[in-house]
């Protein structure tokens, strides 16, 4: 049996700021090479925490209390700092949520896009420039010369997100962590960006962890999906199975809660209190306050 690209095993973490409240509870999941895996859940589900753990950028207020994150068999959590920084930014990269703040406003796109090429791959300035032009072409930016010379504020949100995608795939990573990459975008731009991520992922054979709260986005881009609640895995499986034959009541309730423009009389069913009670019991959470 081939080893999975990523194997998270029994990962648990607490928030030191919140009186030691658990933020991840015994999370296990595996990611195969080249697959797109959705991490979905409502706020507080822990989906972003898992993404940050994979990138080695957990905030200092989150402490891992158990478990492993094996990347090609090596545990990222105990790996020496030096080895980790070799992997991060080269084998594992990020597409961030907010294209407005992820780019340095004081540096031209060229400088930001070629950093990795020069520092991690040791490319010359000239080669890096050529590669950057190619990358922008890959993400369908029509006038790459002008864009390379531009500052972030001169570009639209959708354009900036394309650049961040180009940058994430620049070094042919094995894993791209996309943390709500379309949440801040208009719906027509979102569709272009989803299409682009899928195309780049297929062209480069890259595995993608796709963090989102939107089951619609999951349906369109993820091969498999993991649903979380309060730091615990509630259900995982192939996207088609989870959407057409959800096993957990919470999964079913979430699908029924979302309004749909094509079905005016369906959707908008609040998740019943009984479902939350069951979830809290399963997770081991105390009853909610008011």
């Amino acid at each position: 049996m081939t080893q999975p690209l990523v194997a998270i095993e029994g990962l648990s973490a607490i928030s030191t700021r919140d009186g030691g409240a658990p933020v991840l509870r015994d999370v296990s999941l595996t990611l195969e090479k080249g697959e797109v895996r959705g991490l979905v859940g409502e706020s507080g589900a822990g989906k972003s925490t898992i993404a940050k753990a994979l990138l080695g950028i957990l905030p200092s207020t989150v402490k891992v209390t158990g478990g492993f994150i094996r990347f090609e068999g090596r545990d990222l959590l105990t790996m020496p700092r030096r080895e980790l920084s070799d992997i991060m930014g080269r084998d594992i990269t990020l597409i961030p949520q907010d294209p407005q703040t992820a780019l340095n406003p004081a540096r031209r796109i060229e400088a930001q896009l070629t950093d990795g090429l020069r520092l991690k791959l040791g490319m010359s300035k000239k080669d890096a420039h050529q590669r950057a032009l190619q990358l922008l072409d890959e993400v369908q930016i029509r006038n790459p010369d002008r864009v390379l010379a531009a500052y972030p504020h001169e570009l639209s949100g959708g354009m900036r997100q394309r650049i961040l995608i180009a940058s994430a795939f620049a070094l042919n990573p094995k894993l791209v962590v996309a943390d709500e990459p379309t949440t801040a975008l208009d719906v027509t731009v979102q569709k272009e960006i989803l299409r682009l991520i899928r195309r780049m992922q297929e062209a480069h054979g890259t595995a993608v962890i796709f963090v989102t709260h939107d089951l619609g986005v999951v349906a369109k881009i993820c091969d498999r999906v993991t649903l979380l609640y309060a730091g615990k895995v509630i259900e995982h499986g192939a996207t088609v199975d989870m959407l057409t034959a959800p096993r957990h009541v919470y999964t079913r309730a979430l699908i029924a809660a979302g309004p749909r423009y094509d079905r005016p009389n369906a959707g908008l069913e609040p998740v019943p209190e009984a479902v939350f009670r069951q979830l809290r019991a399963e997770v081991g959470l105390a009853e909610r306050g008011i």
Partner: protein
């Protein structure tokens, strides 16, 4: 009495315009180019569009929260286009607003009790403390919040609870009209459904008219009777929800609808070309 509560015709809004001396003012940027919008009594009209479409500006123009540079706005038969802030004041109670971020619109140093009772006194809607408390408790129950909420501060509540406080505050004024601007865009779906159901039920019960601004066509369809689709400061399509959603006439509406990812498997969706914006007709 006309059955129209709001009637806006040819509304223009220009930001950053200055008159200047000797006619050398700055022309400014026009963000609404002659928009028409009517809202009947008891009707909820959705205003949808992407960023920069002018949907928020249109909402604010209706309430005269931004200067209107052209067109007319009538409220309950009265032309309010040129009314001064003083002249607008008696109408203010009748037009309420619920904001996108309830945390930013609720005073963080006040308890929910203060936030809800003070406007009642300000508008002379409560005779004394006991009357105010009674009204506030009744509305709290309607938005499914426990009475202990009254002693809490906004930051102690969840996003959904704060948004329900926002709704309670607006409807306590017994308004004729409520402007709701992206009020569920920061909420989780499970919370969103509850907030929207409460708002729908209350508006029906009270015969409220609403302008419901959202970027989310699915949310619009769930709560609105009619919808106005905007793009670049113009209305591209308007009509009853059934018509606009089931048989959209504008290529732009079709493009918007096509771009919504529905939670069902559709393998061709990502690669299928988007509907063209070129009008065939």
């Amino acid at each position: 009495m006309s059955d129209l509560l709001f009637e806006a015709k040819g509304v223009e809004v220009t930001y950053g315009m200055s008159k200047g001396m000797f006619g050398h003012g700055r022309p400014g940027v026009r963000v609404l180019h002659g928009v028409d919008l009517s809202i009947k009594r008891g009707e909820t009209v959705g205003i949808v569009g992407e960023s920069g479409s002018g949907k928020t500006t249109l909402g604010r123009a209706l309430l005269k929260l931004v200067p209107v540079s052209g067109g007319t706005i009538r409220f309950d038969g009265q032309d309010i286009t040129g009314l001064s802030p003083d002249a607008m004041r008696p109408l203010r109670r009748r037009m309420q607003m619920i904001f996108q971020d309830p945390m930013a619109s609720l005073n963080p140093r006040h308890t929910i009790r203060q936030i809800l009772t003070e406007p009642l006194f300000l508008h002379g809607l409560a005779t004394d403390r006991r009357d105010a408390e009674r009204q506030v408790r009744a509305i709290l129950d309607r938005v499914s919040l426990a009475p202990v909420t009254l002693d809490r501060a906004p930051h102690e509540l969840s996003g959904g609870q704060r948004q329900r406080v926002g709704i309670a505050r607006a409807v306590l004024m017994k308004p004729d009209f409520v402007l709701a601007d992206e009020i569920v865009s920061g909420l989780d779906v499970s919370t969103q459904a509850q907030v929207l159901n409460i708002l729908k039920a209350l508006s029906k019960e009270m015969g409220l008219s609403m302008a419901f601004i959202s970027h989310d066509l699915s949310v619009i369809r769930a709560v609105c009777d009619r919808v106005t689709v905007m793009r670049f400061g113009e209305v591209v399509e308007e009509g009853p929800c059934e018509t606009v959603f089931d048989a959209p006439q504008s290529p732009y509406t079709r493009l918007l609808l096509d771009a919504i990812p529905l939670p069902e498997i559709d393998d061709g969706w990502l690669t299928r070309p988007a509907p063209s914006l070129e009008t065939a007709a």
